[in-house]
Each structure stands twice: as structure tokens, then as C-alpha cells.
């Protein structure tokens, strides 16, 4: 099902609008991840798609038919609510089977199906419990199973994995992806975990300030952010930002009068390479290591530089206080103007 939002504006009573003139098209069978800061309106957007909220202006079409005013029930939507909304009076099995019951699926059939999905999300040992006797993650998985079991035409997942441990999260994420591929259901997936988004989404939508900031694949967003907001929002550790005025004297590229900020990804800060690399270099800096932290296979190095404190993830282990010669590669560096638009991007211009 193709989903199209045209010029949607929505506000809660006596509040400033949450979404303003929002436009978005999701192609049939696409899996779209919705990213955005907390409180940016992601849940609101999903509720709108589900028909639980009606926009104050704009239209919503499914496969070309206007459904702005359509009853939620007719939309065939599977949804995982952010707070699960499990039916407190129903057992896990009954919760999962609920949509099938509503569709008048026969009892043995629906129990079998529910059991199958319970297995998929690993709650098959909790089938007779009531939701209140489940752990947070178990509840979330039940909610996920409930959304999947009915083979919806549109799947809306509001942070469906936020309470799961890493291993399970990866497993279920991949399972969602597999099912989605298999059934070709159009899916919107809110997540705060960029790895999730980057890993399984066909496209990523970044929502902020009531507007879609950018739509693209994970790589597009990471490498070619349209705005400083997107650049900062996507990628961990966070983008290093340096005032353009400070950085300008060091730069090897011609000055850009509208530039205000230089953004440098942590992997774009490397040691000045011994051998010549194919990477063009934007600037060279002398710096001192202030701290190193090892996180799994990552080593994050805090550096004191003439541009202020910067963070790199490429440096090898070295003691604090060690002076180093840094290179800023063009790839992974961006220039933004006062409005935050990206006006130069080391990847394209290289």
C-alpha cells in the first residue's frame, strides 16, 4: 500500500501545531524508519496514519484513495503502541490472538497462529500470564506479535524494540525485516536506535520541528545530510562542530562567505597518515589526547585542539597527554550556512 501525506497540519487542543504542512510519500512495500528527537511528533504521525487522530488540514491517501476521514478500523493497520496498550484483562495468548478473533478466525486456527507469533518473539513460555505479570521487554514483544499476527496492510511500529536487549533486538529487527520482505507490507518504524534504522530501513525519514527534515537511505543521510540538524542527529558519536571562523584559517579549500559551521565526523579526524591515502585532506591540526575510552571494539579519543575539544574514533591506544598530529579528511566533513543548510560536503566535492 502506498501512503501519501499531503500538506498535513495537526495540533493538539490549545497547543502549537505538532506537524506543519508535512508532506511524505511511502512507496508500496517500503520499510521506512522514522527518526526524530523526543517530542518531535513521531507518535503523533503514526496515530494520524492509523486514524486515531484527524489532521486539522491536509489529506492522507492510501493507494490514492483519500482516507483522511476514514474509520481506523477500515484501514487494516497493525500497530505497536509506544506504551504497548496490551489488554490488561487478556492473557498473552489472548492478546496476540485478539485481532484474529475480531476477524472471526476460528478458535483453533487463531490459537495456532498466535502461538506461532509468540514463538517468533520468544514469549511462548508466558502464554497464560496476564500482561501485568510480564517484564517490560516481554510486554513489548507481545505487542509486536499482536501487530504482526493479523497481516496488516500497513504496519506502524512505535519503538517496538526499545526495551529489548541487544541480541534479541537484532534478532527481532531482522525478523521484522524478513516478514516485511515476505509479505511486502508497507511499514513505518519509529526508532531511536540508528543502527536499527540504518540496518533494516529502505529509507529513513528524519522528523523535527513539525517538518520532514530529510528522507533518504542511511548512507545518504550519513554522508550527505541536507542540514546541520540531520548531520548532528545521525551518527554516533555526535558530529564535531567548529565555528567556521575559527576553522577557516586552517582549511585547504577556498573560503565560503556564507559558511558558519564546520562539521567533522569522528572518523574524519585521523592521524596524519604515514603513507599517502586516496583521501583528500581538509586541514591539519596539532592536538593533545585528553582521554580515551574503549567501548567494545571502539576507542573514542577526546582531543584538545586549537578548534576546541574534538572527538575521534580512529586513533590507536595512546596515553592521555600525548601530542598528536591530526588530519581532517574532506570525506566526513561538512560546511553549514547560518540557516543550517549544508553548503559543502567533502564527499561530493571530492
Amino acid at each position: 500500500m502506498q501512503v501519501k501525506l499531503t500538506d498535513i497540519t495537526l495540533s493538539y487542543p490549545s497547543q502549537p501545531p505538532v506537524l506543519t504542512h508535512l508532506n511524505l510519500t511511502v512507496a508500496n512495500g517500503e520499510l521506512v524508519a522514522l527518526l526524530g528527537p523526543s517530542g518531535s511528533g513521531k507518535t503523533t504521525l503514526l496515530n494520524l496514519l492509523a486514524g486515531l487522530l484527524t489532521p486539522s488540514a491536509g489529506t492522507l491517501t492510501f493507494d490514492g484513495t483519500d482516507v483522511t476521514q476514514q474509520d481506523p478500523r477500515q484501514r487494516h493497520i497493525g500497530m505497536v503502541f509506544q506504551d504497548y496498550a496490551l489488554y490488561p484483562h487478556l492473557s498473552v495468548l489472548a492478546n496476540i490472538a485478539f485481532p484474529l478473533k475480531m476477524a472471526h478466525v476460528k478458535r483453533p486456527e487463531r490459537r495456532a497462529q498466535a502461538r506461532h507469533y509468540a514463538q517468533l518473539v520468544h514469549v511462548d513460555d508466558q502464554l497464560t500470564k496476564l500482561p501485568r505479570a510480564l517484564s517490560g521487554g516481554q510486554q513489548q514483544r507481545v505487542a509486536l506479535a499482536r501487530a504482526l499476527v493479523k497481516h496488516p496492510a500497513l504496519l506502524l511500529l512505535d519503538e517496538p524494540l526499545s526495551n529489548l536487549d541487544a541480541a534479541l533486538r537484532v534478532e527481532l529487527r531482522d525478523e521484522i525485516r524478513r516478514l516485511q520482505r515476505l509479505t511486502g507490507v508497507t511499514t513505518l518504524f519509529v526508532t531511536h536506535d540508528q543502527t536499527d534504522a540504518l540496518r533494516i530501513a529502505d529509507r529513513i525519514v528524519v522528523l523535527a520541528n513539525g517538518q520532514i527534515q530529510q528522507v533518504g537511505t542511511g548512507e545518504q543521510l550519513y554522508r550527505h545530510p541536507h542540514t546541520q540538524f540531520v548531520a548532528e542527529f545521525i551518527g554516533t558519536p555526535r558530529l564535531n562542530c567548529v565555528p567556521y571562523a575559527t576553522a577557516a584559517p586552517f582549511l585547504t579549500i577556498p573560503g565560503l562567505p556564507t559558511a558558519r559551521t564546520l562539521g567533522i565526523r569522528s572518523e574524519a579526524l585521523t592521524l596524519v597518515p604515514a603513507t599517502a591515502t586516496p583521501q583528500p585532506i581538509l586541514a591539519q591540526l596539532t592536538a593533545t589526547v585528553t582521554r580515551q575510552v574503549v567501548i567494545g571494539r571502539d576507542r573514542q579519543t577526546n582531543l584538545a585542539t586549537p578548534w576546541g575539544s574534538l572527538l575521534s574514533t580512529t586513533l590507536p591506544a595512546m596515553p592521555a597527554g600525548q601530542p598528536v598530529q591530526l588530519a581532517v579528511t574532506a570525506r566526513g566533513s561538512f560546511l553549514f550556512d547560518a540557516a543550517g543548510h549544508c553548503i559543502w560536503d567533502g564527499d561530493c566535492d571530492a
Binding site: R73, H76, I77, P88, L90, F98, M102
Partner: protein, 297 residues
């Protein structure tokens, strides 16, 4: 807390919270109840001088042999069966409708509340008028010529009608309060899960409303078993034509206040109490099976 076991200390604390209620209930309900239980066993009893001639089951055997008591018992059961389900279901239906509307909502809610505040005397007068054989609105409506209140065949039905109508107000209020407490997310989730209005009602609203329904049902059973005022007012101080609306409570009243057969009245009270207890117990059992009698945990 979550899995705390009762201790002596926690029991003492709880008793502090319960004390005011228990004190009042003990003095003004339990104590008189016990005395009247005792009284039901007295024979040759002088109520005023408190002279007890003996103790035995004579009063119960009096009841057993009194055709009027059998009549009252039968009527009471029919009455409760007629009123309780109907009033609970109707009240729920109306509460659901009232809960859905926004325009004129206050007006409608107030109107449906009216019968409850209106004095029983006034209500019985009005119903007396509505139920008249000639030109009575009910007869006009159903195109019948029934003398509802003076025909023994219909009198009990008429009382049932009036009581359903009058009970609605309270139950609607309680249901509205209960509905207001249900988180709308569940409704939303169910809608998305493809539930029709009716399915939402039976699968989500109804079970979530169960604590309130338990309260309303138990209350309805209790009050309707004890029906008296409406009958007294509707039939002008009698139990209806040919005792057609003689209920246990009315019987009790007659025995106590009119015929001065105090121990017999007490015995009737015991029977009535046991009967309500039995029926409520059954209801509780039913709800207990649904694991909600004890509330949420």
C-alpha cells in the same frame, strides 16, 4: 508491598484505617442484625417487655406454612430476575450512548439522572397515571387496555417496569464514572485490531468495566431484593391487587409494623438476608471466575 505478607503490625495499621467504618457498622448494622437473628428464634415473645417464652424454629415453620410467604418469595425472585439484568444492561447501554455524545451531553446526562432524584411519591403518582387503563400513556403506546395496577396478572410487571426506570439513574452515573476511567488507548488498540463497535464493547469495554459492573450488579441485587417503597407508594399502601406485588420485604413490613408479629418478621429477615447472600454469592462466584472480583491484583 508487591509480595508482602500480612504481619501483626500491618494488621494493626490496617485496623486503624478500618476502625471508623467498622465501629459504625458494628454498632448500627451488625449488632441489630444479630439481635434480630436471635429474635427469629424466640417463641411466645413479648417484644415490648422482652419476655422470651422459648426458643425454637416455630417462626420459620410459620413462614413455611404461610401461603403469603410463599407468594412473597416467588414474587421477590421474579422481581429481582426481572429488574436486575434489565436495569444493568439498559443503564450500560444508555451510559455508553451518553459517553459518546458531546452535543447537549450535559442536558441528557441530567435528564437521565432525574428519576433518581425525583421523590418516590411523585414517581408512583406519575406512573399511576401513565399506567391507567383508559388514556394511560403506556396503553396508548402499546394499543392495549390493560389495567396494569389493578389487574393481579400485570401488577408485578408494572412494578418491575417502574423500578427498572427508577434504578436507571444511579446505575448510569456509576457506569459513566466507570467508563470515564477506562483508558482510551485500549479502545484505540481494539479499533486498529479490527474490532467493530460491538466487538469493542464485548471484548474490551465490558471486561474493563467489570469492577464497576460487579459493584452495580451487587448493589442492584441487594436493593431490589429489598424493594418496598415503590410498591407501597404505587399501590397506595397495599401489596397490590390480590397481593400480586407482595414481596419479602413487604411481607416483613406487614408482619412487623402492621400485624405486630415481630419474631416472624425477624425470621423473614433472616430468610431474606440468606437469600440475598446466596444470590450475591453466586454473582460473586461468576465474577470471581473472571478473576476480577478481587480487583486488579
Amino acid at each position: 508491598m508487591l509480595n508482602a505478607k500480612p504481619t501483626l503490625k500491618s494488621t494493626l495499621v490496617a485496623l486503624l484505617y478500618l476502625a471508623p467504618l467498622l465501629l459504625i457498622v458494628g454498632v448500627f448494622t451488625l449488632w441489630p442484625l444479630l439481635t434480630s437473628f436471635l429474635m427469629s428464634g424466640y417463641t411466645h415473645y413479648n417484644y415490648f417487655t422482652n419476655h422470651v417464652g422459648g426458643f425454637g424454629g416455630a417462626n420459620f415453620s410459620y413462614l413455611w406454612h404461610d401461603p403469603n410467604f410463599h407468594l412473597a418469595l416467588r414474587h421477590t425472585l421474579i422481581f429481582v430476575l426481572g429488574v436486575v439484568p434489565a436495569t444493568v444492561i439498559l443503564a450500560l447501554g444508555i451510559a455508553l450512548l451518553l459517553n459518546r455524545i458531546t452535543w447537549l451531553a450535559t442536558f441528557f446526562r441530567t435528564v437521565y439522572f432525574l428519576p433518581f432524584v425525583t421523590a418516590t411519591v411523585a414517581i408512583s403518582l406519575v406512573w399511576g397515571w401513565l399506567l391507567r387503563p383508559d388514556n394511560g400513556l403506556i396503553n396508548l403506546l402499546f394499543r392495549t387496555h390493560i389495567d396494569w395496577l389493578n389487574d393481579p396478572r400485570y401488577a408485578l410487571g408494572a412494578v418491575i417496569m417502574v423500578c427498572i426506570w427508577q434504578n436507571l439513574g444511579v446505575n448510569i452515573i456509576l457506569f459513566l464514572a466507570g467508563l470515564g476511567r477506562i483508558d482510551r488507548r485500549y479502545q484505540a488498540a481494539a479499533t486498529l485490531d479490527g474490532a467493530s463497535t460491538w466487538q469493542r464493547l464485548t471484548n474490551v469495554t465490558w471486561p474493563l468495566l467489570l469492577p464497576m459492573t460487579v459493584l452495580i450488579t451487587v448493589n442492584a441485587i441487594v436493593t431490589n431484593f429489598k424493594v418496598f417503597n415503590q410498591i407501597y407508594a404505587l399501590f397506595h399502601g397495599t401489596a397490590g391487587p390480590g397481593n400480586a406485588a407482595l414481596t419479602l420485604m413487604y411481607y416483613l413490613y406487614q408482619q412487623f409494623y402492621v400485624e405486630n408479629q415481630y419474631p416472624v418478621a425477624a425470621a423473614c429477615g433472616v430468610v431474606l438476608f440468606a437469600l440475598i447472600l446466596l444470590v450475591t454469592g453466586l454473582a460473586a462466584l461468576y465474577f470471581h471466575r473472571h478473576a476480577w472480583w478481587e480487583g486488579r491484583r
